[in-house]
Subunit: 193 residues, 2 copies
């Protein structure tokens, strides 16, 4: 078993998601691929059915708006990535790239269907995981409606401090819905406090 | 069969979600309740396991921030409502109320489990529906990161014009992440265009 499989096995065991036997079966089914930093996984205008699960590394979603990149999401270890274009069955509105070298499970509806048939409990786990991520997205969305940019930054510092160290500041600013200048001013204000 | 069941049956048939027989079985399992406008379904600080599916009417989620209501979501016909406190297993951070008289399916994990056992296809439908709603939430979140308040208003006018007529303007402003004064100015600007 190579190191990529170890990553997945450790995740599955740590979260008690499967018995040892089922975990080994899932690993045998999961098509794991390695990608270099900078790889574009999805382009604006492209149709794609590929879904991902990050075993190592960090992905970034961004829109091109008037020639400028607007970063909307980062995906790091043990996060699933299901591009909107799949649910909408339309060409993608945005790009998805590897911000770092990445090890990903690359899946699609047909691979999932096979896995659902072989591992009856997998569908329950996917439903629970999707519900958890939906709750996280709703929290992120509410965060934009009820909180100031400063509070959003403090919430990120609390919930995911590693991300702040890991990604370029201009991308982080866009992710927080502010300009890089505002983020810089905001951080200086907080340091002085 | 009363009118509430007819609403659910029409929805299930229109979307080809179930065979006629399965639809009748689901209706027999679904606990439908009527609520008066103004009913508070969930309070800040309260623990709840109740999930809803709107058959008729409109619900509103809001936070109390410094004594002021901040509306974050509206839920109308044929939308599921799963409060964040269930996924987080914590007391709720927000209120959920009936903005209009409402007819709702009121469910919980145990009712869902029974329904999953009796209707094997229901879990697939729930997974697909949850994935669709997750995509919608991601679109709503990206909308805050890449678009101006004016563009967010125009997007809502495009995607859900009925909502703009249906809810009070100060609640709509908060839902769009702006002040009521900004919404009013923005609408006046657009009328003049």
């Amino acid at each position: 078993m190579d190191a990529s499989n170890d990553l997945l096995l450790a995740y599955l065991q740590q979260n008690n998601l499967f018995s040892e036997m089922d975990a080994q079966q899932l690993i045998a089914l999961a098509p794991i691929q390695h990608f270099k930093k900078g790889t574009i996984l999805l382009k604006e205008g492209q149709r794609s059915k590929a879904e991902y699960f990050v075993l190592k590394g960090c992905l970034r979603a961004y829109y091109m708006v008037d020639g400028e990149e607007k970063t909307t999401e980062f995906y790091s270890e043990f996060e699933p990535v299901s591009p909107i274009c799949i649910a909408k069955n339309e060409p993608s509105d945005y790009y998805l790239t590897c911000l770092e070298d990445a090890i990903l499970i690359v899946s699609d509806a047909s691979i999932q269907q096979d896995a659902f048939e072989q591992l009856p409990n997998l569908k329950n786990i996917c439903l629970q995981m999707t519900e958890q991520i939906l709750a996280q997205k709703q929290i992120a969305l509410n965060n934009f409606k009820i909180n100031s940019p400063e509070q959003r930054y403090l919430n990120l510092l609390d919930s995911n401090p590693a991300l702040i160290q890991r990604v370029p500041q201009y991308q982080l600013a866009s992710y927080l819905g502010i300009t890089p200048q505002s983020l810089s001013r905001l951080r200086n204000r907080l340091i002085k406090k």
